[in-house]
Symmetry: C2
Subunit: 346 residues, 2 copies
């Protein structure tokens, strides 16, 4: 490797102090025009590159925040991170992205090891496998905002939609259509995260509110919220003696997998089975049929998360951890009400 | 902010030299068990966190590579980066991810500014707006591997599939089905990247090889390769006096948008219009109909890119830039041959 050109080399060639070079390179105003030109000429001649990391070390700041999600190939997360990147850019922050595969060890390492701290000034984190204890045991100096279904213990902010209410609304939409054998795909009763449990709770509440029984054999668990999970679960439901006439899927990907399983057996959506998803990803706006869904306000979630994180980063004493609710809405499309004579939603 | 606990604080409390603390923290073997225990107790007591960045600065290595892509919400890229992360992990490398939105300034900044260099030891880069000149003007010390449709100038490695051959194969598949009004969606004659041009070249070659004319009004340009692009272009094609009976789409997303436009007008895929895509993303394996596609070997592309980049990082003199071809294959699904009595591909 070549020896790196240092600040001192530049100072020597320009005939000024290292501090003066530093002032020029950092764009500080307290330098005469003549000196600035001289230093810049030396910088160019030597091919000097100011070392941002060294600068950050000195200032104790990196100008970067980390966004840590379980899966980057899940459209919900890749759409969300677009919004986070946009929101962070407005404040001059760069976003480092990492995915954990939901591995508790990887997740714990991210918030526990102070070793990685200077790479980023704070973390927006969507944990999956991490339990509340591991969250409590984290590096207390790390500014942290949690996305997804986790309750704040008062030491971090949590941003999300009201999943129970949204799931209840989704189920009620199916019941309003006159369906009376409504299934749910995506339950995870033993998961550490609360995403699935909250959706199942909303599903039950919708039935209870109308005095309708919940058929337990129509609540199907899945390991993840992906297309294959939906396809497998739906295949199972279709083999029941009395299959469902509607399905609440815990993600749009699950819904797309379920729809595929229904259609590939020659049945129709929504005529034979109505399907509703969750997340409002682009996929569901162009699928055949298009997917009715719960749409969380992703822009609002991202903007709120970034705003709270930057506040934590700049505060000498950490602000109290808040529970922050972003709005959601039900978007009705073909998979529950059939085709209207609309052009594609492009 | 609290004062950071330093190596020296630990050394003082443990009654050893700073170098000894450093040896323990870095896991070097030349420390007695008794000293190690003493140092570790002091580390724990003071809550000391070894500063990885400072360590990297001293070693001139970060242990991280950057993966820079235009769009992270494009399934092709999010699937590819899964493979890159896996391949890098095997060699103990962490992957920083950034997206450029195809903005030439952002792309140039990434490879030109030495300022960000110590954050990563090398870059795997999929440029979009960057022209060959900007690529040539980059920081020559930065190990670089390019993905996508760019030709190596001998100073970097380029990994990709043979796009012209793959596009020719896709078009031939449609011609083999007896279709004789084959359209192409995705042309970008003025783009700096060569992705679209190469696909159009393959499309033309397939016609020429059979002595068939290309109908120029059936080659439709699109700004990007997304679902809305496919839906818009297809809507235009359907309004032609003599619409196509088959379409070669330059990505699976374009194909999914095109299929949506066809189906929403009450036409059938493939009976009325056969559709083939490109990329083999998961979406096309669960859509209705499933999408026939060109499948690039993403695992091979990722593994080759990481392998070459690590070689560049560890080489004192840069190895010559190579053109590296990953294999691809045609995967025939419902959107060109209709439904066979198969269960869903889950």
């Amino acid at each position: 490797m070549r020896r790196e050109v240092t600040l001192r080399d530049v100072a020597e060639l320009a005939g000024v102090s290292s501090r003066t070079v530093s002032n020029v390179v950092n764009g500080y105003a307290n330098v005469t025009e003549r000196t600035r030109v001289r230093v810049e000429r030396a910088v160019k001649e030597l091919g000097y590159r100011p070392n941002v990391l060294a600068r950050n070390l000195a200032q104790g700041r990196s100008g970067q925040i980390a966004l840590v999600v379980p899966y980057l190939d899940t459209p919900y997360f890749s759409e969300l991170l677009q919004s986070v990147i946009r929101a962070a850019k407005v404040s001059g922050y760069n976003v480092l992205i990492d995915q954990t595969d939901g591995d508790p060890e990887h997740e714990r390492g991210f918030i526990a090891h102070g070793s990685r701290r200077l790479l980023f000034d704070g973390v927006i984190f969507s944990p999956l496998g991490l339990d509340q204890q591991a969250l409590a045991d984290r590096d207390p100096a790390l500014p942290l905002v949690i996305l997804g279904e986790r309750t704040s213990d008062g030491t971090f902010d949590h941003v999300g939609i009201d999943d129970v209410a949204a799931s209840r609304q989704a189920t009620e939409h199916l019941l309003d259509l006159g369906r009376n054998r409504v299934a749910a795909i995506g339950d995870q009763p033993y998961a550490t995260g609360e995403a699935a449990q909250r959706r199942t709770r909303g599903f039950r509440e919708a039935h209870q509110a109308r005095g309708l029984p919940v058929r337990e054999d129509l609540i199907i668990g899945t390991p993840r919220f992906n297309r294959p999970d939906g396809a497998h679960a739906m295949a199972h439901l279709l083999e029941l003696e009395e299959p469902p006439d509607a399905v609440f899927c815990y993600s749009d990907l699950v819904a797309l997998g379920a729809i595929r399983a229904i259609v590939s057996r020659g049945l129709r959506v929504p005529e034979d089975i109505a399907v509703i998803g969750y997340d409002d990803i682009e996929d569901g706006r162009f699928s055949n049929p298009t997917v009715t869904t719960i749409s969380p306000d992703k822009e609002m979630i991202a903007a709120t998360a970034v705003e709270r994180l930057l506040l934590r980063i700049s505060s000498a004493t950490p602000p109290p951890g808040l529970e922050l609710r972003a709005p959601h809405k039900l978007i009705v499309r073909e998979s529950t009400v059939g085709r209207s004579a609309r052009p594609p939603s492009a």
